[in-house]
């Protein structure tokens, strides 16, 4: 079920939280996603999918916040998948080395499938 309390759309599928980024990922919207992700992890989520299907533009502050989210998730032992990222944004992620720390999926469905396979492989 969708949760709009933090102005960030999200829902959970089992132990995976799916968080939706807005059309412009900057400091403000990045921090909202970060807060939502932390909340989901605190609530027992074992994996995060951040969906960029609405995102047209990202800036470097937004990207640095995403890296912070990846750090937090790693510390919690959670996996992170980015889904539906447009080509230009992928280029930026590559330029700044983000793609070394995160899996990219074509869409949310592929992200959930990827996580499900990983989870089984890890014996969760």
């Amino acid at each position: 079920m969708a949760d709009f309390k933090s102005n960030v759309r999200s829902h959970t599928v089992g132990t995976t939280a799916v968080v939706y980024a807005s059309d412009y990922l900057n400091k403000l919207t990045g921090e909202r996603i970060e807060r939502e992700c932390k909340k989901q992890l605190d609530s027992g989520a074992r994996a995060l999918v951040i969906d960029f299907s609405d995102t047209e533009l990202v800036n470097s502050i937004g990207i640095s916040i995403l890296l912070g989210i990846i750090d937090i998730a790693e510390k919690s032992g959670a996996l992170v998948v980015f889904s539906d990222v447009n080509n230009e944004t992928v280029q930026l992620f590559e330029m700044l080395g983000l793609t070394r720390h995160v899996v990219l999926a074509k869409d949310e469905e592929e992200a959930l499938t990827t996580l499900s396979s990983s989870s089984k492989a890890m014996g969760h």
Partner: protein, 748 residues
Amino acid sequence: MSPRPQQERRILGRVKRAEFVGRDAELERILSLASHANSARAGGGLLILLAPLAGVSELMRQAYDQLFNAQSEAVPIYFSLPASDTTAVSAAIEFLNAFLAQYIAFRRNEPSLAQASLTMNDLVQLAPAADLDWIEQLVSAHNKQRFSSDERELVRFCLNAPRRVPSGNPQPYILFDAVKLANYDNEQVPFAGELIKALAGSPPFVLAGLRREIIREVEQAGIDYGTHEKVRLEPLAEAEARQLVASVARREGVAVSDECRDLLAQQFEGSPFLISAMLLAAREKHLALNSYFDCERLYVDELLGGRLNHYFTSVLENVAPEPIVRSALIRLLSESLRAGQRTASFAAWTRRLNLEAADVESILRSLHVQEIVNWDGETVDTQRGSGAWRDFVRSRFRLDALREPRALVVADLMSAALQRAPQTVARHYRRSASLPLRDVLQAFNYQRVPKVLFDYAAFAADYKGAPTEEIAARLEIDPQAMKLPQVFHTAHGVAFSAELKQFDEESCVVAHAFAGTSYTNENEVVWLTAKIDSKLEADADAVADWCNRLENLAQRSGFSRVQLWLIANEGFSVEASEKLRERGAYASSRMQFELLSAQLSEGLNKSTAAANNEYVFILPMGADNELLAAATAEQIARRLNFRPEAINQIKTAIVEACINASEHSLSPDQKIYQRFRVEDDKLVITISSRGILPASVEAREGRTHGKDAGVLEQRRGWGLKLIETLMDEVEFERVDEGTSLRMVKYLR
């Protein structure tokens, strides 16, 4: 016979308008100010700040004649302070007399009255009916005032006489030639102060005088210097000086060869006074000036006994009225003109002149005003004054102090002048033909220019032999660019090193500059540039000699960061180029230098032409306004047919640049200034803001250490990294505050 047209009447002018050489702009300034004479917004006056010997009286006389002949509302009044043998009181009374005579002459449209010798009573008799009342009252008041014992009050009365013209009558426009103002320094009455206050009280006016003196006196009189317009009058430029020689010679009927014309223009450094003095002397002595010998013989005669002698003697007598002091002063000046004794301390002058400090101060102030010395309160620099002045001082010392036979002094002076004449003219010809090295360096102001213009070897390999048009076209698209520094001071090398005296003054220039975006010690760099005189490619030995010479200069001057740049007409041999590369020196041929010079000149014109293809937006910081900037850039980029991928790259870069600009927490106006300039093959975007420099930029400039910054700070530096990756050219431009980021994206 028809009457002479009014426009042509010569009244105070010594020459016809057509014979008056140069100073057109200055004349126009004086004439245009006259229109304010009867307006309510009279504003300030015009200060003509004169270099010594630059000459101003004919300029003012010409202005007078034009205003008189125009017979408009402004009544011109020209007055020149008498040179000597007069007091402040008599000068003031003379002024009053001239004022009334010229006012009445104008009102009656009778030029002859302007210079007539008339008593006050005569003037009252001649006053037109419309002016009779106030002139009668003025003369009557003056008759009472002149018998009072208060001299200062009398001077003030006379100088303020123009204010007594009733407001309904045409107002006077005073043209005051105060070049001799220094002669009134020792008066009991503070003449300069009274004069300046009187003029300032009845604008508009023109006050001409020696620049150092006028500035000082205006400030001392408590008058706001900034409220007055200024015209700086320098000696004539070379072409005008030659024209003046020809014009005066023609008028005075003196035959002058072209060679002598050039010599006189050069030897007297464009001084109208000295040039005219020489030609008048030639006329009086019925001499033709057809050879250097003719010129120098006349020069020596004039210097030791003619007009030049009279002028320089009067300067000296005014500076030091006491013969004993004057004699000591000549000795001191003569000795200090010798090589290696350029400067001396105030204390040394006090000891040598054996005078009280106040008296030495007075002498130095007078010499400083005449620009015979430079005196900053402590150090006295004596390497000033015209060449003729220096000859005068040396010869006076030998005649008066050393008591050498006059014949010997004349012979030596003549010999030296004859030896110097061809050198003087040769120096002029060389200067005319030489590269304007100093001008080009002065134009350095962070422009981007093709790097190859400073690398002769690369230029020779890629461009040598190609037609000039082709070279210029190819340079336009040369991708290897370098950014010039901002030069803030240039001087000839000889000002730093006496060793360079053996070369032509123009052959070496020292330019202090800043590279980078901020004025810091680290960014300061001194360009040491030299032109190598060589008909062929300069060889390795010549290059090594110049590099050593310049490096020695840098070491002695304490320059920590230098850039050598050598220029040779035909470029450099392979070995020389190798040596230049080893020493990190730039090298250019004459052609490269000319191309560079052309690019710098073009830059000025381009900026105007570019305005038509330029879009400027100002956005407030914050509220995701960078998206508006990105959207604007998108629209412009679409017009230029950029590919969608490139458009997204531009948008992202602009967003990052705006974020950088917004990070100025102390930005006073909280605005982001954006300039989009469309050029043939590229879009140039400049994002700037006011305020303090962001830490990320400082780190880039090496002012903070990136390794000490935390992870977050490092990540915050990603913006610049992204911009550099996404755009084709990125650089910070020099701005006084805040930052200005220039980004270029090429159409591919």
